[in-house]
């Protein structure tokens, strides 16, 4: 029996109700406008509720209704290409209903009830099915959407109903009378079950040189991008959403700018997936809970995102989930915790910050699904540390969990080195596991080339410290050459423009070819230097300018091949300095 009680107290997004006896995490409807809220604390006869909307105007005595359920998402065809707020209300539908502004109390179904999907049922009467099993397929955009038995249900198929169906129509009836529909509901805070975990040993290629070559992420891996404001977290996240070779992308804009979501919304439909040639938006689900939208819904938004990601993983897809930014999520927890007058942990964050973060990242991974397929969720979380200081709790707790750390750097940003990822402090714990793949699929020389580049950058950092003290002119010419060559690695290879049509995406082969050319230049330069050619001439060979510009050319592959052939002869033409 779902009871109705009444509001006792209102303080910001936290409402206390009496006269109901819900369970923890149950959804309740608050006030005359029936605003959605979630029970977050129970004290005797009082239930404490976080409300997902603005509470101005609510007064004690207004009704509070139980629903007897925890917060559920609607899972089924129709998710791809949608834009939702933190509690799965489609923003396009809200705009049609309400106009420019989001009126509170507005409701809309997560999945459109009117669309008829062409359903092919893949089971027949008499088949035994259990949770996770695929019973039907339909075409959602250009993705095969596999409809599964909800976890926890099993039985024998009695009857099937293929054809054009809405998400609420029955497609399979089990012997015990259970009706299976294209849509099922799943509690957002509960991870969807899998049979087992697999090791992440395939790379998630992203077309971003510094990421793929230097600090690669595995499919099913977890990464954090911390950085002060303006260092390019969002641009990096968007680049990953655009170019990573996942089948499905879930992008959670959590407490960030409205205009950034608009940018995604206007850009994605116009861009094509390099793998399938289809519009990017057709493989993407967007969750947009901007900074000025209610804070409780922001808290829920990352769970909404990861649950949708799990749903597609269960179909056997590689999903990547971008959460921008997890700091805003943590702040939402902090705000709610402080309204509850909980004892704060470090810097006012609740003591459970660390466990919430690890629970979230652990929902990523590569796994064997209930239906036997394999899928993965790679999670990439942006972190916005206060004052750009990485020692703050959200960054630190995140780093304890994730395996890849892409550190964004204000200094690099100031000199317009983009992506502003610091190559000295970033790391990837997958680089060893993934080496084999790179050697087999890109080039056998891969590992050596990569270590050469890492090495020269490391050396540069050491030499620059000396240069700060004595000036470069006082350094031996070999060291000055190292500095020049490291500069080539930085400016030609590491720098990549997200806004240039060609440079924005670099295939693995191209990454290898480009870096290889730089190494060839460097090797030939060392030989020339040994022959006593002047450093100035070595460093300003015209072919270097050509190499610098090659990455912007459409015909880059041929150009690089031609440059590779010409470096050594040109270097050998240089005359020694007469003593």
């Amino acid at each position: 029996m779902n009871r109705t009680g009444e509001v006792y107290r209102v303080a910001g997004p936290v409402v206390t109700a009496t006269g109901i006896s819900p369970s923890m995490s149950d959804v309740v409807l608050v006030g005359d406008e029936q605003l959605m809220g979630e029970v977050i604390k129970i004290v005797g006869l009082q239930s404490i509720i976080q409300v997902y909307e603005e509470t101005a105007g609510i007064k004690p005595g207004e009704p509070v209704a139980e629903t007897g359920k925890s917060m559920m998402l609607e899972l089924g065809p129709g998710l791809l290409g949608s834009v939702y707020d933190g509690i799965q209300r489609p923003l396009s539908v809200l705009m049609e209903k309400e106009g420019t502004f989001i009126r509170r109390g507005a409701t809309a179904n997560g999945l459109d009830r009117n669309v008829r999907w062409p359903i092919t049922v893949t089971v027949k009467a008499g088949d035994r099915v259990k949770g996770g099993d695929i019973i039907a397929e339909t075409k959602e955009k250009n993705v095969v959407h596999r409809i599964m038995v909800p976890p926890g249900i099993s039985g024998t198929v009695a009857q099937v109903f293929p054809g054009e169906k809405t998400v609420e129509e029955v497609i399979v009836k089990l012997a015990d009378g259970t009706e299976l529909k294209p849509m099922h509901k799943w509690p957002v805070r509960l991870p969807r079950p899998v049979t087992g975990r697999l090791m992440p040993d395939l790379p998630l290629t992203t077309g971003q040189r510094i990421l793929d070559t230097m600090f690669p992420l595995a499919k099913g891996g977890t990464a954090a991008i911390p950085g002060g404001f303006g260092t390019g977290k969002t641009v990096t996240q968007q680049q990953l959403a655009k170019w990573s070779d996942a089948d499905i992308v879930v992008y959670v804009g959590c407490g960030e700018r409205g205009n950034e979501m608009t940018e995604v919304l206007t850009e994605f439909p116009a861009l094509t997936d390099p793998k399938t040639g289809d519009a990017l938006i057709n493989r993407t689900v967007l969750i947009a809970n901007t900074s000025n939208m209610p804070v409780a819904a922001r808290e829920a938004s990352v769970y909404t995102g990861v649950t949708i990601a799990e749903y597609y993983r269960d179909m056997g897809y590689d999903v990547s989930l971008m959460a921008d930014s997890t700091s805003r999520w943590a702040e939402a927890m902090k705000e709610i915790s402080s309204r509850l007058e909980e004892m704060p942990g470090e810097e006012g964050y609740p003591a459970y910050l660390s466990s919430r973060l690890s629970q979230f990242y652990e929902r990523g991974g590569r796994s064997k699904n209930l239906n036997g397929s394999e899928g993965s969720i790679s999670i990439i979380g942006a972190v916005s540390p206060a004052g750009g200081d990485f020692s703050e709790p959200v960054t630190q707790n995140t780093l304890r969990i994730v395996k890849v750390f892409w550190a964004l750097d204000t200094k690099l940003r100031e000199r317009r080195h983009f992506p502003a990822i610091n190559w000295l402090t970033s790391y990837s714990l997958y680089s060893k596991t993934l080496e084999a793949w790179y050697q087999d699929n890109v080039d056998p020389e891969w590992t050596q080339l990569r270590s050469w580049a890492m090495n020269i950058l490391q050396k540069e950092a050491e030499l620059l410290e000396i240069a700060q003290l004595v000036g470069t002119d006082a350094m031996p010419k070999e060291q000055r050459l190292t500095l020049e060559m490291a500069r080539m690695v930085r400016e030609i290879f590491l720098q990549q423009s997200a806004f240039h049509d060609v440079d924005t995406f670099s295939s693995m082969k191209r990454q290898f070819a480009l870096l290889n050319c730089i190494k060839m230049y460097s090797d030939a330069a060392s030989e020339a230097l040994a022959r006593n050619v002047s450093l100035h001439e070595i460093a300003s060979l015209p072919i270097r300018t050509e190499l610098t510009r090659a990455k912007f050319e459409k015909d880059m592959d041929n150009q690089l091949a031609s440059i590779a052939l010409r470096i050594r002869p040109e270097m050998e033409k240089l005359k020694e300095v007469s003593v």
């Binding site: 107290r9 209102v10 303080a11 910001g12 206390t16 603005e54 509470t55 101005a56 105007g57 609510i58 007064k59 004690p60 005595g61 207004e62 834009v83 923003l91 705009m95 420019t100 502004f101 989001i102 009126r103 404001f229 303006g230 804009g253 407490g255 409205g258 205009n259 608009t262 919304l265 206007t266 947009a288 901007t290 900074s291 000025n292 804070v295 805003r328 702040e331 902090k334 705000e335 402080s338 704060p344 810097e347 006012g348 206060a386 004052g387 750009g388 940003r413 100031e414 000199r415 317009r416 080195h417 004595v470 000036g471 470069t472 002119d473 006082a474 806004f499 300003s540 300018t545 912007f552």
Partner: protein, 469 residues
């Protein structure tokens, strides 16, 4: 309406009232003082047992016996077309001796969040005539671009210059300025008003003044009144509105004061943990939306305590706004106006507003090159300080000189100097001419051929005066 005389506690800006009929959250409250005057407040916490009210004008004069009247509505701002040209106080009441505003509508000052789906990407280039903005940190319509300043720096001058010169080229659309002053001094306010009057800007401005000696708590509603007005002008009257809010630091101080009075768990440096969300509810009210002609562009001004950009106020602001213009004390001391620290400044929406048809095709690469070359020159200054200028290579000294030139020619301009974007770009090429061509690694070869002074026969903008002074 009932008057309650059940105040049980008065602490700082808060009063606690008992035994009331149900009161709405955020409801407006009038407090009747024994001398017959009225103070206004708003409900912060409501329950069956007690109600907490924050008083905007301070609690001085309120006693246990003062009457409390709950008004049955949340705070609303009366708006109409006639509001243009008016000067109001921080609570929206006329200060200019004019009649009260006859409302066309009364709008909730907290507004509602713009549906991200209903937004339109800001991309119309606003020419401010200031090279450090137009050239390297371009402002577009619907953007929120704050000025991070410090005490004693000429942020007001710059804001005024922007307000005077800002225009979208080739349009004669309706536009208005909404000015919200929070806790600034009479002198500063006078300065703004003078300039508005002198340039005729007041005729299309709405001014909200909460001055330094006005109640601090009122600062929490002043910007909301201003933004509600801006939304009305932009989205109902189709105007392009520029909102200048100064000084956000004073607003945050008021927020901290309320937090402390409520005995909330403080966050960083004592500011409340919800300051990010609270600031977002101001800044996110900028933008352009589908199906409406108007737009809201925000230029909030804040002074960084101790010039510290990692202080929570600038830090949280920059995480919400689309970039920041940072002022430098060093440049100011060096006599450079506007003292914009170009390296630390950023406009996130710049790329959307520049390029062919909007400004010029070479704009982005030129700007990137200026940044990179200036950064390199500034680094060299550090080395020169240690080892002397003599030990620099020839190439390095060119970069060193470039940095000086950049500050003296590009950053420096007069308060009345209104440079077109072409002026700014031509000036840029002129400055880039001083460094070796093979160092221009950010610029595609085709633009070098077309615009580099060594390559083209005559200036591309033939007939136009050369840039700079």
């Amino acid at each position: 309406m009932k008057d309650y005389r059940t105040i049980t506690k008065i602490a700082g800006p808060l009063i606690f009232v008992e035994k009331t009929d149900p009161v709405m959250f955020s409801e407006m409250v009038n407090i009747l003082l024994p001398d017959g005057s009225i103070k206004r407040g708003q409900v912060l916490d409501t329950s069956r047992d007690h109600v907490v009210v924050q008083i905007f004008e301070g609690t001085a004069g309120i006693g246990i016996n003062s009457g409390v009247r709950f008004l049955g509505e949340t705070l609303r701002m009366p708006v109409s077309r006639d509001i243009i040209g008016r000067i109001l106080n921080g609570s929206g009441d006329p200060l200019d001796g004019g009649p009260p505003i006859i409302p066309d509508k009364k709008l909730d000052i907290n507004g509602s969040a713009i549906n991200p789906y209903a937004r339109e990407s800001p991309k119309e280039f606003i020419q401010t005539g200031i090279s450090t903005i137009d050239g390297t940190n371009t402002l577009v319509r619907g953007q929120k671009l704050p000025i991070f300043s410090g005490s004693g720096l000429p942020h007001n001058e710059m804001a005024l210059q922007i307000a005077r010169q800002a225009k979208v080229r080739g349009t004669g659309e309706d536009f208005a300025v909404v000015f919200a002053a929070m806790g600034i001094t009479h002198e500063e306010a006078e300065h703004f008003m003078d300039d508005f009057e002198r340039t005729g800007a007041l005729k299309r401005a709405v001014v909200f003044l909460n001055l330094a000696d006005d109640p601090a708590i009122e600062r929490l509603i002043t910007p909301r009144m201003a933004l509600t007005t801006a939304e009305y002008l932009a989205f109902e009257l189709d105007m392009h509105v520029l909102v200048i809010m100064t000084d956000i630091t004073n607003y945050c101080e008021a927020l901290r004061q309320i937090g402390a009075a409520r005995e909330e768990v403080p966050g960083r440096r004592g500011y409340p943990g919800y300051m990010y969300t609270d600031l977002a509810t101001l800044y996110e009210r900028a933008g352009k939306v589908k199906g409406k002609k108007g737009s809201i562009t925000q230029i909030p001004i804040l002074s960084m305590p101790g010039d510290d950009i990692t202080h929570p106020i600038p830090d949280l602001t920059a995480y919400i706004t689309e970039g920041q213009i940072v002022m430098s004390r060093e440049l100011h001391m060096g006599g450079i106006y506007p003292p914009v620290n170009v390296s630390a400044s950023l406009s996130r929406l710049m790329n959307a507003g520049i390029g062919p048809k909007m400004t010029r095709e070479d704009h982005k690469v030129v700007s990137d090159q200026l940044y990179a070359a200036y950064a390199r020159g500034k680094d060299l200054r550090g080395i020169v300080a240690i080892v002397g200028k003599e030990s620099l290579s020839e190439k390095d000294s060119k970069f060193l000189d470039f940095a000086d030139l950049f500050e003296k020619r590009f950053i420096q301009q007069d308060t009345n100097e209104n440079r077109t974007i072409e002026d700014t770009l031509e000036l840029s090429w002129e400055l880039l001419n001083s460094i070796p061509e093979d160092e221009l690694s950010r610029i595609d070869a085709k633009f070098i051929q077309k615009y580099h002074h060594d390559h083209r026969e005559k200036p591309a903008t033939a007939g136009k005066a050369p840039a700079g002074k």
